[in-house]
């Protein structure tokens, strides 16, 4: 079923040298299983989508409990995570990374955005600033406690957090260090 044709493509993306490339077209998985008469649906099945929404709804309350518990735990971990000898950075990051991927699915997109901002900060920073971590986690807590009903307020908070991160990067800002050493 393949329909190969010859052309040229760079062997190495950074190289100007070209080598022959072969292009192969294989039937779709659907055609392989159902034959060539298969026609892809123009619209997605609304009943299936509705059932998938119900599936998420049925898991949402369990996730909300887990999310609140994770946020409480994160608040307790901040000082350790920012201490040079702290051991919880990996666990803290995993928890935030989990929220980045899941919170939006379960109806907490703002928590997901704060988690995304914090993940990106942690991925870049060698030394972590406790104030940045605390402000992010407190913003997540406020969001799940409905203290941030206005999306504009959430967006403004997010921008403030991003400015704080930028300051920390540009000026080696060390807010919070004193409280850790004290």
């Amino acid at each position: 079923m393949s329909n190969p044709s010859n052309s040229h493509i760079p062997q190495d993306r950074n190289s100007s040298v070209t080598v022959p490339a072969r292009f192969v077209r294989l039937p779709s998985i659907a055609e392989q299983k159902l034959g060539t008469a298969y026609v892809a649906p123009v619209r997605l099945d609304p009943r299936a989508l509705e059932q998938m929404q119900q599936t998420i709804k049925s898991l949402s309350s369990e996730y909300a409990v887990k999310l609140a518990s994770q946020i409480r735990e994160l608040l307790h971990m901040i000082n350790d995570v920012c201490h040079p000898a702290g051991e919880l950075r990996g666990k803290f990051y995993d928890s935030i990374h989990d929220m980045r991927g899941l919170a939006g699915t379960f109806g907490h997109p703002i928590v997901g955005q704060f988690a995304n901002s914090l993940c990106r900060y942690m991925e870049d920073a060698s030394h972590l600033n406790a104030t940045i971590l605390r402000f992010h986690v407190e913003a997540m807590r406020d969001a799940i406690e409905d203290k941030m009903p206005d999306k504009r307020l959430a967006d403004e908070t997010l921008r403030s957090l991003e400015r704080l991160i930028l300051n920390a990067k540009n000026e080696n800002f060390v807010v919070g260090r004193e409280s850790l050493s004290g």
Partner: protein, 179 residues
């Protein structure tokens, strides 16, 4: 599309989803459970699961899936490395393994252009940025199994074209990440 054609297409899709074999590779237990629940709700019955690329690769050979859905960053083996390993699979005679051309859908928390391009260069077919929503997952799974598989083969690479623009599908605006 007429009503009858729509009905036929929907029954075809139902039958197809019932026969489909999917491998889910994801390190987050909650995300794994969510994906399984959503795929089952779509009517997919044959789902295998692994929690990192290494165990995913082992299971891949055993389950011979029609579609792989994988996270990006996992340890000890990432979804990127697993994708490269799948694309490099060979038959005993050295020819490309038929299984190596399987559609691979990466589901990642990273929407940055650099990560998306890395996924494309490693042989990923399609890319979804988390959080996943039912519409997004359903649409991308249907697209993955309905679209003809286009492969580029050079002496050093076989897989979806690394020169194409791979779109990072997202339920939310990614304009900040695309810069």
């Amino acid at each position: 599309m007429t009503v009858d054609a729509s009905h036929n297409a929907n029954s075809d899709i139902g039958r197809l989803l019932g026969e489909l074999k999917i491998l889910v590779v994801e390190d987050s237990e909650t995300m794994r459970s969510l994906l399984i629940a959503l795929l089952q709700t779509m009517g997919i019955r044959h789902i295998s699961c692994a929690k990192d690329g290494q165990s995913g690769l082992r299971l891949f050979a055993e389950a011979q899936p029609d579609l792989v859905i994988t996270d990006g960053i996992m340890a000890p083996m990432s979804g990127y490395a697993m994708t490269r390993a799948i694309r490099e699979l060979r038959e005993p005679d050295g020819s490309p393994a038929k299984l190596a051309d399987v559609p691979i859908l990466m589901l990642s928390g990273h929407g940055e252009r650099q990560k998306v391009e890395q996924a494309r260069d490693d042989g990923v077919t399609d890319y979804i940025v988390k959080p996943v929503t039912p519409d997004l997952l359903y649409a991308r799974v249907i697209a993955a199994i309905s679209t003809p598989i286009h492969i580029v083969e050079t002496p050093t690479y076989r897989g979806p074209s690394p020169r194409r623009r791979l779109v990072a599908h997202s339920a939310f605006d990614l304009s900040n990440d695309e810069e």
